[in-house]
């Protein structure tokens, strides 16, 4: 093994930090400066919504893109998170600092419980099971009127705060959403760009074969399903405290499909792709408002054409991995070629 020590030298130089630094500058510097310059509530709303869907898309990327489990009920866990936050606020008077992690935990717990019996199902049967789970949760939100106020929805009286310090105002709200989303996306990035991520990918590629390599396939599927629900729940808490009002309609089946479309349009298995897909499918309909009713046809057309012309997505998995390995760190130098290839 000594012969390989030389190849384990860490990728050197500051170039590794260039892309993350630029992205951070964009999200925490340029974009809020622009928003503040225009100072229109509508723009803030769009920016926050786009960020929340980036998180939803990224969390679905983990379960569907990386682990290959077709999940058709993701929006329901987003809803569970939102309702957890809303109910904790309205019934117990808790603030965002507490509701944010709890929303994730409750969504994850619920996902864990439903995953127990469903994880042994394969492909299409698993997809149908998640569809049923999503519908069930949606119907609970809709029909358990005593608890969830049903179709009337819940007003969330508290905005963002940190340990009792209110983060009110548009810019503070934007920063709150951005910080939470970026932290979660970085976490998802570490999960999917690691040897753990490779084990998840092997399940997607050929789960029997992964099993023969010692990969605990059922356990990993449970983990990734639960983790993705956690992040969806966190997104739900952001949404609840941001809009101040939630109703079951925000979490219906079509939202799950929208998130799935983001992941697929961006490129299955590609985290940057999932982010691009989310931005595209949130910003495009807004940008096309001038077209009136015609805009949704245009959005559909864009989705249709992107799948037809780029079946691997706008930024497919292979190019995304190459990008992440070169620019975002954690890479080893391979023998002599100077190309980082492992994870750390």
């Amino acid at each position: 093994m000594n012969a390989f020590e030389g190849t384990l030298s860490k990728e050197s130089g500051g170039r590794r930090w260039l892309v993350p630094a630029l992205l951070a500058l964009l999200v925490f510097g340029a974009l809020p400066a622009l928003l503040a310059g225009f100072d229109r509530g509508y723009f803030y709303q769009i920016a926050n919504l786009a960020l929340i869907f980036v998180l939803l898309s990224a969390s679905m990327h983990l379960v569907t893109g990386v682990a290959g489990l077709l999940h058709l009920g993701h929006a329901a866990f987003y809803g569970v998170g939102a309702y957890t936050a809303a109910l904790l606020t309205s019934k117990l008077g808790l603030g965002f600092t507490v509701t944010l992690p709890l929303s994730g935990v409750v969504a994850a717990l619920l996902a864990f419980l439903v995953a127990l019996p469903t994880m042994r199902l394969v492909s299409i049967y698993f997809a149908v099971a998640t569809l049923a789970i999503g519908q069930m949760l949606y119907l609970v939100m809709l029909n358990w009127v005593d608890f969830t106020k049903g179709p009337n929805g819940i007003i969330v009286t508290k905005g963002f705060e940190l340990f009792g310090v209110a983060l009110s105002g548009r810019l503070a709200s934007y920063y709150t959403v951005a910080v939470v989303v970026v932290l979660c996306v970085v976490a998802i990035g570490r999960l999917s760009h690691s040897y753990y991520g490779n084990a998840l990918r092997s399940i997607r590629e050929d789960d029997q074969c992964a099993d023969a390599m010692g990969v605990r396939t059922v356990r990993l599927k449970m983990e990734v399903f639960t983790l993705s629900a956690f992040f969806a729940g966190v997104a739900g808490a952001l949404w609840a405290h941001m809009t101040g009002y939630i109703s079951p309609g925000d979490f219906k089946f079509s939202e799950s499909i929208l998130i799935l479309a983001m992941v697929v349009v961006g490129g299955l298995g590609s985290l940057p792709g999932a982010i691009i897909g989310a931005l595209l499918l949130i910003l495009l309909p807004e940008g096309l408002r001038a077209l009136g009713d015609f805009r949704n046809v245009m959005v559909g057309l864009v989705m249709f054409l992107s799948i037809l012309l780029l079946p691997k997505g706008l930024l497919g998995e292979v190019s995304a991995l190459r990008l992440v390995r070169r620019q975002l760190g954690g890479a080893w130098r391979s023998t002599g070629k100077g190309e980082g290839i492992g994870w750390r």
Binding site: M1, A3, F4, T7, L8, A187, R190, L191, S194, Y195, Y196, G197, N198, A199, R201, S202, E205, D206, Q208, C209, A210, D211, A212, M213, G214, V215, R216, T217, E223, L227, G269, E317, V318, L321, R322, G330, W332, S334, T335, K337, E339, I341, G342, W343, R344
Partner: protein, 256 residues
């Protein structure tokens, strides 16, 4: 003494078909054993019984002194049994490096916590380094380091075979089972493969070779097990197997 692999009275029935019938066999540490038999003899079923893919109908299979009946394939794998597949099963949409790393991460697990925070702890970085090192070593062993970044789907057939072997080697197995490794290879490639398997064996690895075709097995194996119609009909060194009347009858249908 205890055998590394100990199969006792193993049987497996699929509906009305007795695929493996009361087979008793063993493999000792350091051996290079061949498992041959005509089509439908039960080779693959026996193989699957040994790697946890198929549960036994009756009998026992023990590996390194532990009974593996009822274990899942991944448990058997983590005990130290590595395998390849008859019809090439690489992970096509993953790079060569990532393919091989799965064998390493399967036996040196990295969990979600390790992926998230491993980079900040000593144990976590050491685990990632160990996986990386095993992966490079396995790639080096089969001579695929220069293709580490290539997508597995882009590799030609012959190299994919070695990729599959590298993936199994990254598990650091105590016992490696190769399922028809020579299938689809021409004579030159088969000879190169034979030399490669001999080299692995020479490094101390215990290997079982499941082959449909006698040539490769006769050439390199020290001992050969012969199956026919689910039963073991012979067990011995190549010279004896070559002259064994039961084997000749099974293969050629000669009355002797």
């Amino acid at each position: 003494m205890t055998h590394l692999l100990d199969v006792r009275n193993a049987s497996r029935r699929f509906g009305g078909v007795q695929a493996v019938n009361d087979v008793t066999a063993h493999v000792d540490e350091g051996e290079l054993v061949g498992l041959i038999g005509p089509n439908g003899a039960g080779k693959t079923t026996l193989f699957n019984l040994m790697s946890g893919f198929t549960p036994l109908s009756s009998g026992t299979v023990a590996f390194a002194g532990r009974t593996i009946n009822g274990m899942k394939p991944n448990q058997v794998a983590r005990l130290g049994v590595g395998r390849t597949f008859q019809n090439l099963r690489v992970f096509p949409n993953m790079s060569v490096f990532d393919n091989v790393s799965v064998g390493a991460v399967g036996t040196l697990p990295q969990g979600p916590a390790g992926a998230l925070f491993g980079g900040f702890t000593k144990a976590g970085t050491e685990r990632a380094d160990a996986i990386s090192r095993r992966t490079w070593e396995a790639l080096e062993a089969v001579g695929l380091t220069h293709l580490a970044g290539e997508l597995a789907a882009n590799l030609p057939y012959g190299q994919r075979k070695y990729l599959e072997i590298a993936r199994a080697l990254a598990m650091r197995p105590r016992f490696l089972i190769l399922d028809e490794p020579a299938a689809g290879l021409n004579d030159t490639e088969t000879r190169a493969l034979a030399a490669f398997i001999k080299r692995l064996h020479g490094q101390g690895l215990t290997i079982m070779l499941v082959e449909h075709d006698m040539g490769l097995v006769m050439g390199i194996c020290q001992r050969i097990l012969v199956l026919a119609s689910g039963r073991k009909i012979a067990d011995g060194p190549p010279d004896l197997i070559r002259r064994d009347p039961a084997v000749l009858e099974a293969y050629l249908g000669v009355e002797s």
